[in-house]
């Protein structure tokens, strides 16, 4: 088990190296740089070129890459060109915000998906199943950013049940109960919007697993033992059907990252997704590469987590 986890973790190293090279090269290939927006009548283009030379932006990419990775290994992501503060400082609070938003979204989407998936699978082809399947089709067809806008308009502006931007009410002392509640209150609407619309995959996956497991021979064996229908469902069908859902978990995280880019911008939630979009428009390379790298690391960790969870819950792939 530990050997497997260790080996699985070691595989991550080459993955990370390839990922960092890709991110760096792609960022370099983007047209323009942090200074190209500064061109104006009172700015001397020669001065800009001098700064570029000074910053080392004209060096070959591998030298720049070397400097960048060297810094990261020492915990230094460089300074933001635009905000003139270290990137790590800029990311610090936002990564925490994004983390809690993801956790809330995950919890909400499983809270929605598991009961719906179970109902849909257990009573397949009934009206309940059709209703739930209809919902997942709508979820599948609706773009997240449009749905989020509707939610924001309805619950944020029209009904005013939820705040429309930010991650906390200004002026609260961090660490107090009010502060925590305010944080929770702010992330509820974005989390709910994402959960409602992206959970269809898990619902349908769980439904199909249950429908599939229901027809397995060992279910007949369980009935032949004298197990009641509810026991057959809880002990035999559900346990076997939740396995792939656990494996799906890492993929879920990757999905969330994609979603957070829209959601954080729409809800004005100061997280990593918002920062990423900002840094692209401002050509703030150091911030851009750092956020993208962190998103990439999160995806790789998600996949690792999936593998480890699966190896714990499924005895057939448990490695001794």
């Amino acid at each position: 088990m530990w050997k497997f986890t260790l080996r699985r973790t070691l595989i991550m190293i080459p993955q990370l190296i390839v990922l960092s090279i890709l991110i760096f090269v792609l960022a370099q290939l983007m047209p323009g740089d942090a200074l190209s927006g500064q061109v104006g009548p009172d700015v001397d283009p020669k001065r800009l070129d001098e700064i570029r030379e000074q910053m080392g932006w004209n060096d070959p990419w591998h030298e720049q890459y070397g400097r960048w990775v060297g810094g990261i290994l020492q915990g230094d992501f460089g300074d933001s060109y635009r905000f003139k503060i270290p990137v790590s400082e800029l990311i610090g609070q936002r990564i925490v915000n994004s983390f809690w938003l993801s956790v809330a979204t995950l919890i909400l989407s499983y809270l929605i998906a598991i009961p719906l998936g179970i109902t849909s699978g257990r009573y397949n082809d009934s009206w309940r199943d059709q209703l739930i399947t209809g919902y997942s089709y709508i979820g599948f067809a609706t773009p997240l950013f449009i749905f989020a806008l509707v939610m924001l308009w309805l619950f944020g502006f029209t009904l005013q049940w939820f705040p429309t931007s930010g991650s906390v009410t200004p002026g609260l002392e961090p660490g107090t109960f009010e502060y925590v509640m305010s944080k929770l209150y702010h992330l509820l609407l974005p989390a709910l919007s994402t959960a409602l619309i992206t959970t269809y995959g898990t619902i349908q996956y769980l439904r199909n697993e249950i429908v599939d497991t229901k027809q397995k021979d060992f279910i007949i064996t369980a009935r032949a033992k004298g197990a009641s229908e509810s026991r057959v469902y809880n002990r035999h069908i559900l346990r076997n059907s939740l396995l792939p859902i656990a494996a799906f978990f890492g993929f879920e995280i990757t999905n969330l990252i994609g979603g957070s880019i829209f959601i954080e911008n729409i809800f004005g939630y100061p997280g990593m997704g918002q920062l990423l979009v900002e840094s692209i428009t401002l050509r703030d390379y150091t911030v851009l590469t750092a956020t993208t790298l962190l998103f990439g690391v999160a995806s790789i960790l998600g996949a690792l987590l999936s593998d480890i969870i699966l190896s714990i819950v499924d005895p057939r792939i448990r490695i001794k």
Binding site: D217, T221, A224, A227, S228, R316
Partner: protein, 337 residues
């Protein structure tokens, strides 16, 4: 007279295909006595397994008519909770494929223990574990202490079938239904499993319904044999009579299609045609008639019923009196080829 353990009366098990119900088991009556091995033989698709599932009440979508009396209680009319008290306790079932019939995510001990738990909730955990170990030893599993915590995929096919048997006999059922228990196993393991079932039968003195298409298994295990064709029983006899003087054309064709080690045969008998599918089953006249076309129609009855021809020996239809193998035509074919 032997005690009747199971008395099936006019059982019809039908499945819905499109909008009609089609009987896979058609108006079948059968008894199983205490301490008896009753073998049910027939081709694939003749309704053997549908019959076994009916006895256990395992059909979820079939329409079941008629009575299945187990010691006077009608299984066919039981509510789910009544049924769950009987299944696993009075009735045990061994399935065909031990590979798929065990839950892949449950330890072997837990799966056997579940049968015990379901019918005796007061048993302590330790007592249950002891009992499971005892059962594993009984079915001949070496290193039971180790196997009890293993998962099905860690065991060989034969071992898994032994686990399956341990599960079926956990509560000493009085009637054991074995649905092709050796079909998925290789030959050496087959005979071990059959020996085991034989041994357990003597120990538990329960009745066994053995469903199989293997006549070798029948000869080795059975006391009485029921031959099934297209949802009906065409012949019932004790095993000796059946092998020595089979009457029904289907029984004779079956026996004739088994290679015999003692006599030299050039060619095995092949029964013409195929088993008709459920929708195309002839519901009138002799159902086997279509597969012995060289026998004149007048030989068959219009409404063939099982008739006793000797004590304990029943045959359906009158065609057996006029039946012979078309050996002449067979020889012709031989010359041609």
């Amino acid at each position: 007279m032997a005690e009747k353990l199971l008395d099936i009366k006019n059982l019809t098990t039908s499945f819905r295909i499109k909008d009609d119900y089609h009987a896979a088991v058609d108006n079948l009556s059968l008894t199983v006595n205490k301490n008896e091995v009753l073998a049910i033989v027939g081709e694939s698709g003749c309704g053997k397994s549908a019959l076994a599932f009916s006895i256990m009440g395992l059909h979820t979508r079939a329409k079941i008519e008629g009575d299945i009396l187990y010691k006077g209680n009608n299984i066919a009319k039981m509510s789910p909770s009544e049924l769950n008290k009987v299944r696993g306790n009075d009735l045990g079932m061994i399935f065909q494929d031990p590979l798929t019939s065990l839950n892949p995510l449950m330890e072997v001990g837990e799966q056997i223990g579940e049968t015990l738990y379901l019918h005796n909730k007061n048993m302590s955990k330790n007592a249950r574990r002891e009992k499971v170990l005892d059962l594993l030893n009984k079915v001949g599993i070496p290193r039971a202490e180790h196997v009890i915590n293993q998962f099905p995929h860690e065991l060989s096919g034969g071992m898994r079938q032994r686990v399956m048997i341990a599960m079926a006999i956990a509560n000493k059922p009085e009637l054991l239904i074995a649905d092709e228990p050796t079909t998925a196993l290789d030959v050496t393991i087959q005979s071990q499993i059959l020996d085991l079932i034989n041994k357990l039968k003597d120990e538990m003195d329960s009745g066994i319904v053995l469903i199989t298409h293997d006549l070798g298994v029948v000869a080795e295990m059975a006391d009485r044999v029921a031959v099934m064709y297209a949802g009906q029983i065409v012949e019932v006899a004790d095993v000796k009579t059946l092998f020595e003087s089979p009457l029904h054309p289907y029984t004779r064709s079956l026996l004739n299609s088994v290679p015999n080690a003692n006599t030299e045969q050039d060619e095995l008998h092949v029964i013409q045609g195929i088993v008709p599918s459920l929708q195309n089953l002839p519901r009138e006249g002799c159902r086997f008639g279509a597969r012995i076309p060289w026998i004149d129609e007048s030989a068959h009855e219009k409404h063939p019923e099982l008739k006793e021809v000797a004590p304990g020996h029943q045959v359906r239809c009158t065609c057996y009196k006029h039946f012979s193998f078309p050996d002449e035509s067979k020889e012709e074919q031989h010359v041609l080829s």
